[in-house]
Symmetry: C2
Subunit: 152 residues, 2 copies
DNA sequence: ATAAACAAGACAATCTTACTCCTATTTGAT
DNA sequence: ATCAAATAGGAGTAAGATTGTCTTGTTTAT
């Protein structure tokens, strides 16, 4: 898996929408300028978000985007999967029949199992975090960041 | 972060060494053929593993590689960091001063915090899993794989 | 001395990322 | 009806990462 710019911009865009009055219709141009995100790219990303049902779009003059759901019902995992496709830490984790580890080595691969477990941990974090959580940070989300380096 | 072929091959290579008699010196050619991994690429990867102190290399005729540590003292995290460099789920997680999220938005970024938390979960899994664990799978490692899809 | 084996670095093909651009299509206002 | 504003969709592209290969050393056992 990798959280690319697309996923990052998607969440930033949704957060921007969430901070506006609910009835406002907001143009890509405004979000792009306000958040310093490339306009054309953001437009592409918002196409995905619209298809995914996270935002509703209004074309034509006076058009733009608005949130399609309450912020508490949009999880980070859903957004990332929407704009980046199914994202996996490693090939084993997906159903990819080309996975070298699983196909050429062992059908019951312990290495694949470890990758899958790690992937599940990531998914758990992203699945329990909503846009609302990012707007109104709670201590337990922001606080307990053990340094990755300390795990060496 | 992404677990690339390099990381995958490194672990596969170490597992192969671990399965051999401890006193044997094993050539890249043998590992490559046995495990179906490209030879030149594996040689490059083993250079890193040697520098990282995971294997010891012996040059010249009759040379090859052997494990430099007990399998229980080599964690997946260490190996991945050795061959892939510091691997991060997202730019925020590293100290990259170019991170768009943290620099242009908020110094105390909740989104970065979520990425970092997810990264820490991954690191925990990889840090507690050793080569020995992969050789002798215990139920709690192989078993509790909740489907990633079910977390949607 | 020679052949076997790793060490190191340059090089290359392919893929992914991170975009842009152009042409619709929709819509509100005149 | 027409025009301008806005998204929709698809094609295209430059840079960088991945996944290797190749060549030229250097070490070492015989």
């Amino acid at each position: 898996m990798q959280v690319t710019r697309a996923g990052e911009y998607a969440i930033i865009g949704l957060l921007y929408l969430a901070k506006q009055p609910a009835d406002r219709t907001i143009m890509i141009d405004e979000i792009s300028e306000a958040e310093g995100v490339p306009k054309s790219f953001l437009a592409k990303i918002f196409q995905s978000l619209a298809k995914g049902g996270f935002v509703c779009s209004h074309r034509g003059a006076g058009g733009g985007f608005g949130l399609a759901k309450p912020t508490g019902e949009i999880t980070v995992l859903q957004v990332l999967q929407c704009v980046e496709g199914a994202f996996a830490l490693q090939r084993c984790v997906t159903d990819d029949p080309e996975c070298v580890v699983s196909t050429t080595r062992m059908s019951n691969c312990t290495l694949c199992a470890v990758f899958t477990e790690a992937q599940n941990r990531v998914n758990e974090v992203f699945a329990r975090t909503t846009i609302a959580d990012l707007l109104h940070p709670k201590p337990q989300v922001a606080q307990p960041i053990k340094s990755a380096a300390s795990l060496n």
